[in-house]
């Protein structure tokens, strides 16, 4: 019982830690794409960790599975959403990466447009 709870709390705290990372990344990182890394990707890990933690906390088979389903949904949907946004904002030039960075995608887009 105690071990289970401890494990659950541990996972949740890890999730919380990654949440801090997310927020700091979101605030600190210099450009849009790097922020996406922090704000979407680490976030997913964080959310999934918390969900797994909760599942263990609850410890009822079907209910835990349901919570895991929530986590699974995050796992599935979030990267895709991130990808969609990144692609969209790059394509429309809403947010382009900083000049100096390596950018092989722009050549592809340029070729595509020709």
């Amino acid at each position: 019982m105690i071990i289970r709870l401890t494990f659950a709390y541990l996972l949740m705290i890890m999730g919380a830690f990654f949440a801090i990372v997310t927020v700091i990344g979101l605030i600190r990182f210099p450009d849009v794409y790097t922020r996406i890394h922090a704000g979407a990707v680490v976030l997913t890990i964080s959310a999934v960790l918390v969900c797994v933690g909760s599942a263990i906390y609850v410890w009822d088979f079907l209910l835990s599975l349901k919570i895991l389903l929530v986590g699974g949904f995050f796992l599935f949907s979030n990267p895709m959403a991130t990808h969609a946004i990144a692609k969209a904002s790059y394509k429309r030039g809403i947010a382009l990466p900083v000049e100096k960075t390596i950018d092989e995608y722009s050549t592809y887009l340029r070729r595509d447009s020709e």
Binding site: A16, V50, I67, V70
Partner: protein, 85 residues
């Protein structure tokens, strides 16, 4: 612990609002809003655990689905400038 986590995630999302307000580009704001959404859904999860009303998890799931659809709508809008094509 559960309460603490809920408050923690709330505070985190309140910090993330800074990016939504400040964000130089719309993508920044969107990502931050997504972050807030997921944090808040975690808060909801925590609340479900706190109240021992596990039916509330449905709400988290529903919200997660619709948040995701939202993001896709924004993405479509940014990519094409319209939602029709």
């Amino acid at each position: 612990m559960i309460t603490g986590l809920a408050i923690f995630f709330t505070v985190m999302s309140m910090i993330a609002v800074y990016r939504v307000i400040k964000g130089p580009t719309i993508t920044d704001r969107l990502i931050a809003a997504d972050t807030i959404g997921i944090f808040m859904s975690l808060v909801m999860l925590m609340l479900a655990l706190y109240y021992d009303v596990y039916l509330l998890i449905d709400i988290v799931l529903a919200y997660a689905i619709l948040l995701f659809i939202d993001i896709l709508i924004y993405a479509k809008y940014f990519e094409r400038g319209e939602l029709y094509k």
